[in-house]
């Protein structure tokens, strides 16, 4: 006599079954992940690189589906992958960002050299506050901790590029340049990070 009905219809949203997750990595992404997996003795260790690939494949952000895909590909639980992804600041999870993320270092050395002034200038220029994206979805302004370029303080970072010491006119040129950049720099960064982890031969093979 089974008096318990545990299978009652649930209203709570359900996590997808591993088989139901849509896998959207491109062939190149899959190959790169396969190579990265050979770098480590276990699959879990490829978590960070896999998330970078996912961030590239999903257009500069890590939506929930991307987390699920990484979890399925690495055989981990969804929650675990989400936990790892939310730990690191450079994964854009739970807050979608625009095409270009402008990261302003406001840490000690930069703060001493006027980072907050530059930050205020940027905020006014873009009309957004920390963590916000411009209405057209082009720029996201973020405050970051030390970028370790204290000799060039105050320093800004866009994708893989440091700009510093940054004065108002540097900011103007930067914004202008980015406005004319079609390719999202967030994607470029994720791609650069992935490429940096692959050996030359692996890179060549993955791009075939």
């Amino acid at each position: 006599m089974d008096l318990i009905q545990l299978t009652e219809k649930e209203e709570r949203p359900q996590a997808p079954k591993p088989g139901e997750v849509e896998l959207r990595f491109s062939d190149r992404g899959v190959k790169e992940l396969d190579y990265l997996l050979t770098h480590y003795p276990d699959r879990k260790s490829a978590m960070l690189p896999a998330l970078w690939i996912a961030q590239r494949e999903y257009g500069g952000n890590l939506p929930a589906e991307a987390v699920a895909e990484v979890a399925v590909r690495l055989g981990r639980s969804y929650a675990e992958v989400e936990g790892v992804a939310t730990f690191y600041t450079m994964y854009h999870i739970r807050h979608a960002v625009g095409k270009h993320v402008i990261e302003v270092c406001t840490c000690i050395a930069c703060a001493l050299c006027g980072a907050y002034r530059i930050a205020d200038y940027l905020k006014a220029k873009l009309g957004v506050d920390w963590g916000e994206t411009t209405p057209d979805g082009t720029f996201t302004l973020e405050e970051v901790e030390c970028l370790d370029a204290c000799d060039r303080a105050p320093v800004l970072m866009v994708a893989d590029e440091y700009i510093g010491p940054a004065a108002e006119k540097d900011v103007d040129t930067l914004i202008e340049r980015l406005r004319n950049t079609e390719e999202p720099t967030t994607v470029r960064l994720a791609d650069e990070v992935t490429q940096a982890q692959l050996h030359k031969t692996e890179q060549a093979s993955a791009q075939d």
């Binding site: 000690i108 050395a109 001493l112 907050y116 901790e145 370790d148 000799d151 060039r152 960064l189 650069e192």
Partner: protein, 423 residues
């Protein structure tokens, strides 16, 4: 005393970044020499050199190398800590960008000495320039037979992979770095005496040698010229040998990396960096934001050296030297420093997770409150920092309080009535 450029000798030379230029300047001679030596002899050479970890703690490098099991029963790993994140420090960045082969060579020698088969370079993802340089160096090393199977006919195989971080200061802590590399949240694990050293149980519970970029970069020079030669540099100090790169920033005229011999007075370093900008010297944080701050009098007495700086109440740390001029509001400075720690706290242990946030709040009260609030805030800070320092799990929590404690010791008078914020 001028700079003693050993690691940064060819830093400005673009040719040196490629393997041809590097080898033209005597690159990979150290590796070739090391491969002809006994593994123990390499370690002994490092021992003779008196090299100490350049990452912050100053632990003798040879002891780490020596504690990896000699009888190899399972895989060994080398991990290079290139997750430089300490505010004020940017020496590894320059080393990796301009002299990538030096570090790679050092890593290979280290790998040979401890019989490792794989080495990882954990680079923070912000350092894309470094990552590209290192990646190129690794590729070139493979092409020239310095990496891969049967290196230079020695029968020893070694691979090096780059592993990119994703934005976390905490991952610069060796234990957290290993966790991060293993695909977990970058939280520190248990440390000695609660768990064995990483050289016994590190990555995937296997012996792992972790060293800083600068430490590895010193190794080729030691192997080529001998430990005794290296030990002569900086011999005027108690127990600090060789050169150390100091990243000078803050209110100085020429911020940048300066490689100096141990034993140089701190004020000479300031002179090298072009002297103060915008006012008299007020205070200095000589080794990255987590070391205690010292005031002008202490600066004038300070001699650079691991023991010597402890004598004036601070540390060499990672060599991130920030000079503050007289117009700097100390409270604002420590508030901003502490804010950094609060934001970068991994959240694992209670004192750091909750305490760092409260310390920021208390400092904010100290910054803007009235007299009664200031008195209360000062009392709170005093009690807060004792618990944080004694109870935190890792260095982050323990060191997060040092700016506040040291500044409050030295500048209590000033802190009690701080000037307006002038950042």
């Amino acid at each position: 005393m001028p700079e003693t450029r050993l690691l940064l000798k060819h830093s400005g030379d673009p040719e040196y970044r490629a393997i041809a230029g590097y080898m033209a300047e005597g690159g990979y001679v150290g590796l070739k020499k090391a491969l002809t030596m006994e593994r123990q002899a390499v370690i002994d050479e490092v021992k003779k050199s008196g090299l100490r970890g350049r990452g912050g703690a100053g632990f003798p490098t040879w002891m780490k190398w020596n504690s990896v099991p000699k009888e190899k029963t399972k895989p060994h790993y080398v991990l290079c800590n290139a997750d430089e994140g300490e505010p004020g420090t940017f020496k590894d960045k320059e080393l990796m960008e301009n002299t990538p082969h030096l570090m790679i060579e050092g890593m290979i020698i280290g790998g040979y000495a401890i019989q490792a088969e794989v080495g990882y370079v954990y680079i923070r993802a912000e350092f894309m320039d470094c990552a590209r340089a290192i990646k190129m160096a690794i590729d070139e090393a493979y092409e020239n037979g310095f990496l891969g199977k049967n290196i230079l006919g020695s029968g020893w195989d070694h691979d090096i992979y780059v592993h990119m971080g994703a934005g976390s200061y905490e991952c610069g802590e060796e234990n957290a770095m290993m966790r991060s590399l293993m695909g977990e949240r970058g939280m520190p694990g248990l440390k000695f005496p609660h768990a064995p050293f990483p050289t016994i149980e590190g990555l995937w519970n296997l012996p792992t040698l972790i060293n800083n970029v600068e430490s590895f970069a010193c190794v080729p020079h030691i192997v080529v010229n001998g430990g005794d030669w290296y030990a002569m540099i900086g011999a005027s100090t108690k127990n600090s040998r060789g050169t150390k790169i100091f990243s000078v920033s803050g209110h100085v005229n020429k911020p940048g990396n300066y490689e100096i011999e141990f034993g140089m007075p701190l004020m000479e370093l300031l002179e090298l960096a072009g002297g103060m900008k915008g006012g008299e010297l007020k205070a200095c944080v000589p080794g990255g934001s987590s070391v205690p701050m010292i005031n002008k009098e202490q600066c004038e007495k300070a001699i650079i050296g691991y023991e010597e700086l402890v004598e004036v109440g601070t540390m060499v740390g990672s060599g991130g030297c920030i000079f503050l001029n007289e117009h700097t509001c100390i409270v604002t400075f420590i508030w901003r420093t502490t804010l950094f720690y609060a934001r970068e706290s991994c959240g694992k242990c209670t004192p750091c997770r909750e305490g760092s946030g409260r310390l920021v709040a208390a400092l904010a009260r100290l910054r803007s409150g009235d007299d009664a609030q200031k008195t209360a805030a000062l009392r709170d800070i005093d009690e807060l920092v004792t618990v944080m320092r004694s109870a935190s799990l890792c260095g982050l929590g323990q060191m997060a309080v040092s700016p506040a404690t040291s500044a409050l010791q030295d500048f209590r008078q000033a802190v009690g009535a701080p000037k307006g914020a002038n950042t």
